[in-house]
């Protein structure tokens, strides 16, 4: 019983670490790579994207998930909401941004990604 309880507590600890404490470091840089953000299976792939500060940029999205939630991508800080047609690449234009981290997500925040501007 002792072992099971310990296992349970360890599992809880792992959940806290995995979902909250762990900070992903990897981000894809649009300056060095040609990327299309795939919207499928509950995530944006890649979901951490680096772009240059102070310059207009654009991101290319390709939605493969039929669920209605995935159909719109929002960049709330910039008042951008763009509809993503199914299986068609869509370019979302972004204004020139000051350095910082900005979230982009679907209206319900089931899909979520980070835009790192530096």
């Amino acid at each position: 019983m002792m072992i099971i309880n310990l296992l349970g507590l360890v599992l809880i600890g792992l959940i806290i670490w995995w979902f909250w404490l762990y900070k992903p470091a990897k981000a894809v840089d649009t300056r060095s790579e040609n990327i299309t953000i795939i919207v499928n299976d509950g995530i944006y792939q890649p979901s951490r994207i680096k772009v240059e500060a102070g310059k207009k940029t654009s991101l290319q999205f390709l939605r493969k998930d039929g669920s209605p939630c995935a159909a719109t991508v929002l960049f709330p800080e910039f008042e951008i909401s763009e509809e993503l047609p199914l299986n068609t690449t869509r370019v979302v234009d972004l204004p020139s941004m000051s350095p910082g981290e900005y979230l982009f997500h679907c209206p319900m925040k089931m899909y979520s990604g980070t835009l790192i501007v530096d």
Partner: protein, 754 residues
């Protein structure tokens, strides 16, 4: 900044996606080929994205052809029209719906018979080897169902797990997975478990997958209805236009209409793009955009807008705004953007959502541990049921959907009434307004004043001379009252003459030389300042003012000559609309630059008791601040021209438009029709929407807060009640559907006009 005009004009800049450009050297080739086309100002390729952006007045097909000639493929990116996008979306939604329904049938095909068997008392336990064999077979069948009907949950759960996030898929995958794995352990190693715990839960796995697929499918259908308003707006765009080219009228696709094209519209047809009438006259029904039921007469040089309906005459007009620049396209854009924005009330749900799933996982584990440690026998079975049920019943979706769905419907509903709401924040604040400042001219009144009285004080001058003098001095002024005097003179065939040394004195009037005389024209203050004796005329002016007219004094060579009274008629439904505002508990205040007597007379007629009169334009925002300092949440309504600072300072700025001029951008909410009913509608819609959001959020919170402990077995020690995982699955599947349906109720909302 004018946000609506930020977007790139279709004709000026467009973007193409290039396919088959594998090397950096292609960039130069493609750019040169495009730059060589007549009409292309510049072409720049972004190699990283494989896109090229082209500036210039050239159609996409020409550009694509040029790229194909040098051996690459290209296609246009963002030029899918809203219409096509909508069609595609509907097809995609339908497809998604069908696939979910198919998955539901697969899962329920196994789940329902098993469920009935168990309800009828069939043993769900594993004791004999025959039972083991049968359950093993069912277990494998169940695994197949998990694959065919629930694959998307498991893949989604895994992908988000790897990405350090968790969502609804995670909960469903863990819940159904736990039930299945436990059941398989029962089948393979029954001896490892106490006899009472040798119970299988394959029916739960199958039923939950089936029910959740059903819930999602119904949600897709219900969601489709939430975007009805935007569909209606998009439906106003016509697909073709009849343009005059080379003296011939030809029908072309709407996206090929160029600026300055001459377009023909016949009776009963919709206006294809924005423009100015060049020939003919007609009446146009603008109700679909402005909510104004009366058709509007249009003659040469009048503006017409895309999407409105030509009723009576055949006209020719010159296209002034096409493609994404038309008022209709901008309205659609604005509504879409607002529909996806979130009012602050939704932020709490967002924060909760971010922690929700992992917290549920932790509760699930804790609950299992508590049952194992302190529960009655069979502890393992109770632990598994509680863990599974907690995972299944928790519904992050209901929370996530609560706000966006209502905003979607509410903003759309407002647009139907000719009210454009900038964003979710404006929507929320509008619902909380306690005081409303109404600008008098153009808001409560028509804004088109007319001369009503000329009282002559000095009989040396004829009425004609007086009007000539007044019109001449006022022809240089931009004041709306000045326009009334000039118009009145022109009506009597009097041409305004030139004046010299013209001087406008803010808040007083104007001063100039006319035919060798010195003219003073303005209010009492101007006269007193210049030492003009008013004798008994102050009382006469007062009398005019009491009749809601604005009296203006005219002095020639510092001697009072006449009083000219101008009156701006009150809009016919202002009284009703103001009553509606007051009935909803809002303190209505009138604001005007006019003198106190006129202002109070107008206020009295429309039933307003509080008036800020003789307010200089730059002081308007001070009055907003004054009310705010009294603790009021202030709405300010004006025509947006000299009200911009006050509109911006107010908690919610309402710009009252004339027709379809959506360029009024200093406002949070734009009323497309002139009637103040639009204002009352805007507030009514925002109140209804906020109430709806609160119901949704409350429902979603209560559901989770009550459901999770119940699922964990909190009621067991008292009532001996344990929630069945299948019921939890059904509850979860229908909780988000309930939220969407409740939001859909808003579609039935009707503002009370009378």
């Amino acid at each position: 900044m004018n946000r609506l005009t930020e977007g790139t004009t279709r004709i000026k800049t467009q973007e193409l996606i290039i396919e088959g450009a594998g090397c950096a050297s292609c960039v130069g080739k493609i750019e040169i080929a495009l730059n060589n086309i007549n009409g292309v100002d510049s072409a720049e390729m972004n190699f990283a994205l494989r896109t090229v952006s082209i500036t210039g007045e050239v159609g996409a097909d020409v550009l694509i052809k040029a790229i194909e000639t040098i051996g690459y493929n290209a296609r246009s990116t963002n030029d899918t029209s809203d219409d096509e996008l909508l069609d595609e979306k509907e097809v995609a939604d339908q497809h998604y719906y069908t696939s979910l329904m198919r998955k539901m049938w697969i899962a329920l095909g196994l789940g329902v018979p098993l469920m009935i068997y168990s309800i009828l008392g069939g043993p769900m336990t594993v004791e004999t080897s025959l039972e083991r064999g049968v359950w093993l077979f069912i277990g494998i069948l169940c695994a197949a169902i998990m694959y065919f009907a629930g694959k998307h949950f498991y893949i989604g759960a895994w992908k988000s797990f790897v990405n350090h996030t968790a969502n609804m898929d995670t909960l469903i995958a863990l819940g159904t997975g736990t039930a299945w794995i436990y059941s398989m352990i029962v089948v393979f190693f029954p001896m490892a478990l106490p006899e009472m715990a040798r119970h299988v839960y394959f029916e739960a796995t199958a039923m939950i997958i089936g029910l959740i697929n059903l819930g999602l499918a119904l949600e897709v259908k219900a969601r489709g209805r939430t975007s009805e308003a935007i569909k209606r707006l998009i439906g106003l765009q016509v697909k073709t236009a009849r343009v005059v080219r080379d003296q011939k009228e030809i029908d072309i696709a709407i996206d090929q209409v160029l600026l300055n094209d001459i377009v023909r519209v016949r009776p009963g047809e919709k206006i294809p793009v924005d423009g100015i009438v060049t020939q003919g006259h007609t009446s146009i029904d603008e109700s679909m955009l402005t909510g104004e039921p009366m058709p509007v007469e249009k003659v040469e040089n009048d503006e017409i807008v895309a999407g409105t309906l030509n009723k009576s005459g055949s006209i020719l007009f010159k296209a002034t705004r096409v493609g994404k620049d038309t008022a209709l396209a901008q309205i659609i854009n604005m509504v879409k953007r607002a529909q996806n924005s979130k009012p602050p009330i939704g932020r709490l749900a967002d924060i909760i959502s971010a922690y929700f799933v992992p917290v549920i996982m932790i509760i699930s584990i804790s609950s299992a541990l508590i049952w194992l440690n302190f529960g009655p026998d069979p502890t393992v079975a109770f632990a598994v049921i509680s863990a599974t049920t907690v995972l299944i019943i928790a519904c992050p979706c209901a929370l996530g959907l609560a706000t966006p769905m209502s905003v979607m419907v509410g903003v759309g509903k407002a647009a139907e009434a000719g009210v454009l709401i900038r964003n979710g924040e404006a929507l929320q604040t509008a619902s909380k307004i306690t005081a409303m400042i109404l600008d008098k001219t153009g808001t409560i009144t028509e804004g088109a004043p007319k001369v009503t009285d000329i009282l002559i004080a000095d009989n040396t001058y004829t009425e004609k001379y007086i009007l000539t003098a007044a019109a001449s001095i006022e022809s240089g002024s931009e004041h709306p009252l000045a326009q009334a005097i000039v118009d009145s003179a022109i009506e009597q065939d009097i041409d305004p003459e030139n004046v010299s040394n013209f001087q406008a004195i803010a808040g007083h009037g104007v001063k100039a030389q006319f035919n060798g005389h010195q003219l003073l024209f303005g209010n009492q203050k101007l006269m007193l300042k210049n030492g003009v004796h008013l004798n008994g005329f102050v009382a006469k002016a007062q009398q005019l003012a009491d009749e809601a007219k604005t009296p203006m004094y005219l002095a020639i060579d510092k001697k009072l000559t006449a009083i000219i009274a101008v009156s701006d008629p009150i809009k016919k439904d202002s009284v009703e609309a103001i009553k509606r505002l007051q009935a909803s508990g809002i303190r209505v205040v009138m604001l005007t630059g006019d003198n106190g007597a006129t202002a109070y007379a107008v206020a009295k007629k429309v039933g307003i008791t509080e008036v800020f009169a003789e307010v200089l334009p730059e002081e308007k925002s001070n009055k907003v601040a004054e009310l705010q300092a009294q603790g009021e949440i202030v709405g300010m309504t004006g025509d947006g021209i000299n009200d911009a600072p006050a509109l911006a300072l107010a908690n919610v700025g309402f710009a009252i438009g004339t027709g379809t001029d959506v360029a009024i951008e200093s406002a949070d909410i734009t009323l497309m029709r002139g009637s103040l009913h639009g204002l009352a509608d805007a507030i009514a819609v925002s109140k209804a929407t906020l109430r709806n959001i609160k119901q949704n959020l409350f429902g979603a919170f209560i559901y989770n807060v009550a459901g999770v402990p119940f699922a964990a077995g909190l009621l067991y020690p008292i009532f001996g009640l344990m929630l069945n995982p299948v019921l939890a699955g059904a509850a979860m599947a229908f909780s988000s559907l309930t939220v969407v349906s409740n939001a859909n109720r808003l579609r039935l909302f009707k503002p009370q006009e009378h």
